[in-house]
Amino acid sequence: MADDLKYTKDIAALIQEATSLTVVSAFLKSKGLTSSAGTWNDMINKRLIPAVQDGHLTNEGLIGLLRSVEECGRQHVFLYFCSKARASELMDRKRVGQVAAKLGVADLLTAAKATSKPAQPELVDVRWDTAAVDLSLTIKAVEIREYQKYIGTRPYGNELHKIYSRVQERCVNLAKLHRNGLLEIRVAAHSNSTKYDADIRRFWHQIGAFLPSGDFKESSLSVAKDRLWGERAELSEKIRYTDSTIRNEAGNVLRGAAGGDKSDLVSDEAVSKSLDFLLEHDDAAYCEGANIWFKETVGLSTDVHVLLGGEVNEFALPASCTAEDYQYVLDQLRSLNRRVS
């Protein structure tokens, strides 16, 4: 029997909001289905819906596509950890089921919600990634944010009034707890701010019954930041640097920035060595931030831009990316974050 078509339409609308026709075409092609469509209307009504009606595609398959296009990139990611034993307790299916029932969201354990624009922040997905055992628990929420977009000025007597339009955008935030104790909190990027402390507090409050914030400690990325700069020669095959910021404990700061965003700071020996000089001659100097690109040539689908800065456990991917590219970046940063003697 064909899946619920209203649900299909809701999922398709969210896919439309989150990605491009090219991505959906590639998805259909990978399933051996007719994939060409010039417009979203054609894609949804002539490709996706008929495929579900014919049983060649399921809503679950479409939810999988939605997850892959809206859960990676355009995010600020905050890393935390707890003990492996505590992670195992928190991921336990019975416990999660009880919490979900108490919150009235037990239905999310069997099917994700295709919520477009909730009036209040809303949990839409609670799921495990499983092999022989549960590898991770993901809790996803959707919220509507409103931000101000500058559109121009208007004279008003002797004054000039700036005018902003109010723009609403759908944002996806998620928490992913791994069985080794690592917790990723991925917060949708703001269009015009770099501050995320209020978002983090609000999201912890929303997921606190599943994952209590008191059980987790921030995982500092300082070692990775220092190694990224210190080992740049060895890393140059896979990483391009567009800027690096070194600060000392007197509060003084030195930033090296590549002239163009396609340039590589590392190729400028004089600028690089000036940053090295501060690191080598001041024991209290440290790498505060970096702007780097993981190169497509290491097997990524494209160059992936990563910002390191802000909070001690924070990194950001300003552009959308594939789940595989995201995982590569996370693995690389975690590997670099291990101190080597």
Partner: protein, 126 residues
Amino acid sequence: MSSINLEALIDEFPEEAASVKRLAAFLDRSEKSGQPTKELSVQRFFDIAKPSSQMVLVRMLQRLVQQGVLRRLVRVESDALGGIGDFGSVADVPHVLFDSRMGREIEVRSDQLKLIYRFEPTGAVR
């Protein structure tokens, strides 16, 4: 500048005793090094003290501010790098400020504000 009351701090944060000791050792080293004033962010203190969470660290730093060991300030940073004004709290930061690094007035944005803890080496850890 007052000295750190280490015992009081450990009494208040018994589960953070190791972090308090690391913090005190850092301030003691800074005191003895004869280096100029230190200005550190919460993030830098986090890497030095290695507390159980950033939230508890902020409470510990607040106690050191009350003891007179540290001074807490809100710094407005220029887009061209460097501070352009220090204020006691976010509420004290003006809407418009002259950016001496760029030579023009700017409208201050929230992402230009940075919380800084200043340590002026004159006291001693006891």
